[in-house]
Subunit: 161 residues, 2 copies
């Protein structure tokens, strides 16, 4: 009986939550170690370079980059500090609004991204793809996208009442 009576049961929500966090920690740790060893980049540093590379003119406001990376403003300041220090990213002032500065991908940064991309994306594909059949990864991605904050909020589809 009831020695375990006070221990919370594991509902589907909690099961999913626990596995989500564990999966992220496990996968991130592995890929982060490889990326760091191979190229000296953190995952967020890589994602930052990638995000910039995809942006128009390879430039973004720091705030928008923070949103993209799910970082706080101060987090992005420090991340860019180190990327600027390595010469991967430059800084430019905005003409019309002197509060904002842009983060701009440099040529060096683009080269670094291209260099890191080859091994990193292969490692991701190996780690993620290994245990899934076709379609299951898409299914997983679709389910994850429903969680709040994962995909940028879609304002356009609010017909409200």
């Amino acid at each position: 009986m009831a020695r375990a009576a006070t221990i919370p049961k594991t509902s589907p929500e909690i099961q999913a939550f626990v596995r989500l966090v564990r999966a992220s920690v496990a996968v991130t740790r592995e890929l982060s170690a490889q990326l760091s060893a191979d190229h000296g980049l953190s995952i967020n540093a890589y994602e930052a370079l990638l995000t910039l590379a995809r942006a128009p003119d390879s430039r973004m406001r720091r705030v928008d980059l923070a949103d993209s990376l799910l970082l706080t403003a101060s987090g992005v300041t420090r991340l860019l500090d180190s990327l600027e220090c390595d010469g991967y990213v430059g800084r430019e002032q905005c003409e019309s609004d002197r509060r904002v500065s842009y983060a701009v991908l440099t040529k060096t940064g683009r080269d670094k991204l291209r260099e890191a991309d080859t091994t990193h994306t292969r490692q991701i594909r190996e780690l993620m793809g290994e245990h899934f059949e076709d379609g299951e990864l898409t299914q997983l991605a679709d389910l994850l996208a429903r969680l709040p904050g994962v995909e940028p909020a879609d304002e356009s589809c609010a017909p409200d009442s």
Copy 2:
């Protein structure tokens, strides 16, 4: 065209990986802030208390707790330092092997867990459950369980030779 020619494409594996990490960051940040504000516990502190509560005699070797929580040995030392400091966990020496010490849940720790459990599990259910139909959470949990490191490796199914 092809301004974007050097930018990595997004395969299903990478899409799933990116969303996995984003989901974890978003969900963890929210729940961690609530848990910390309401009860002064980090998520790992809560999980540690919970894991201990479920263990036989509410006690575990520190190494095994580290494995359960996906932490390194040093990570668990520091986590337990603070839990011991708060009186939630005690320490006991192993008789037969003097290298190992056990982490033991105290009465105070059990009370704390019970106190935190009510709000925390409700918040998890709200956050996770909100955007899914029946069965989808189980589906998500099942998919996540396939990733390496998420569920403890099952040694028992090695027929070896």
